[in-house]
């Protein structure tokens, strides 16, 4: 059974169509890149999967259920924007997450924070933008979830931290869990991905394994993306 299934997903904001009949399935144990230019519907799709938005028509199923309290227990979501309370300390956020999510793995969080030299006694507001992003990603990745939905996880961090984050994703790899990463930094994450989904104007323009795409096109996903979305 796919961990995530979207059927003819449609989302309209006023006169703007954000998603057009999007169909997709993600199997367990896959690391999937959700790729598309700005405004192609990546965040909308992810927000529908988390239950933050409702589709105008069509449906989403996560592990066989519609988005709701049950699926929130198995979905770990990294939003585009930070929601950390600036007055809180990193250690507060950790206990906050521990209270909220039964699958929160304290040991994992502590290890990742110390690997990135993040002091848990710092208040969130004293952290740089990049460090804030790292903290948020660590909180999200420290859950033992079934589906990780990461909306632009590597945009704001330096290349070294980017490598660390990608390695964290590899290290946390679990054959029963899937990771969806939305980004336009394709070059950096290509090696880590099993599959890619291209979104173009709210439609699924391509859904393929990375190796198949390279084999068929004789070029990297990054190069192919540039070709498909040439301005």
């Amino acid at each position: 059974m796919p961990i995530l299934k979207c059927s003819s997903l449609h989302k309209v904001y006023g006169h703007t169509v954000a998603l057009r009949n999007a169909d997709l399935e993600i199997e367990p144990g896959r690391i999937v890149g959700l790729l598309g230019p700005n405004g192609s519907g990546k965040s909308t799709l992810i927000k529908i999967c988390t239950g933050l938005l409702t589709p105008s028509s069509g449906f989403v199923q996560i592990g066989g259920s519609n988005p709701g309290p049950e699926t929130k227990g198995i979905v770990s979501y990294l939003p585009e924007n930070s929601y950390l309370n600036s007055w809180m300390k990193v250690s507060h956020m950790i206990s906050f997450f521990k209270d909220f999510y039964s699958d929160f793995n304290m040991a994992k969080a502590t290890e990742m924070l110390s690997n990135l030299n993040i002091n848990t006694n710092s208040t969130i507001k004293s952290l740089s933008k990049g460090t804030k992003e790292k903290v948020q990603l660590i909180l999200v990745m420290a859950r033992d979830a079934k589906l990780y939905l990461l909306d632009e996880p590597i945009g704001g961090v330096d290349p070294a931290a980017r490598d660390y984050i990608l390695n964290t994703i590899i290290k946390n790899y679990n054959p029963e869990a899937s990771v969806v990463i939305s980004t336009h930094l394709i070059y950096d994450i290509e090696q880590v991905l099993d599959d890619v989904i291209f979104l173009k104007n709210g439609e699924v323009a391509l859904s393929s394994s990375v190796d198949d795409l390279r084999e068929q096109r004789g070029m990297s996903v990054d190069a192919y993306f540039r070709e498909v979305f040439k301005c």
């Binding site: 390695n167 590899i170 790899y173 880590v192 990375v210 190796d211 084999e215 070029m219 990054d222």
Partner: protein
């Protein structure tokens, strides 16, 4: 191990070649244990499923075998390794000859300048 990947070909194929090279060159010893998939994936910064696929291909070639409880091992059969080695050599020679042909050297001319170069370097060393 250092890993390099070119953008034009599937990564599992490139991994397969690099594992093969490690076996043929003796970095992975005959009968030796191959690191776990996750370790290799982390080291090469690639997807674990891709590593898995590359190793499965090597199993098919007989260079690697799985022992159910203890992991993956390089074959102890040296003839299989030697065979892979000579196949790799042939491939390299083909590529080289193609490149030489592109700059206007026929096979016999190529062989000739190789032996001349060998003599020169032998001289220089003595």
């Amino acid at each position: 191990m250092t890993w390099t990947f070119t953008p034009d070909r599937p990564i599992y194929l490139q991994l397969q070649e690099q594992f093969k090279l490690a076996i043929v060159s003796g970095l992975f010893k005959p009968g030796g244990k191959i690191p776990a998939v996750r370790e290799l994936a982390e080291d090469a910064s690639v997807n674990p499923n891709t590593v898995q696929r590359a190793l499965t291909e090597l199993e098919r070639d007989g260079l690697v075998h799985t022992q159910r409880t203890s992991g993956r091992f390089v074959t102890e059969d040296v003839t299989v390794i030697e065979k892979a080695k000579s196949e790799m050599a042939m491939e390299l020679i083909d590529v080289f000859l193609e490149k030489m042909a592109a700059i206007g050297y026929g096979k016999s001319e190529t062989v000739k300048i190789i032996s001349e170069k060998e003599e020169v370097s032998a001289h220089a060393n003595s």
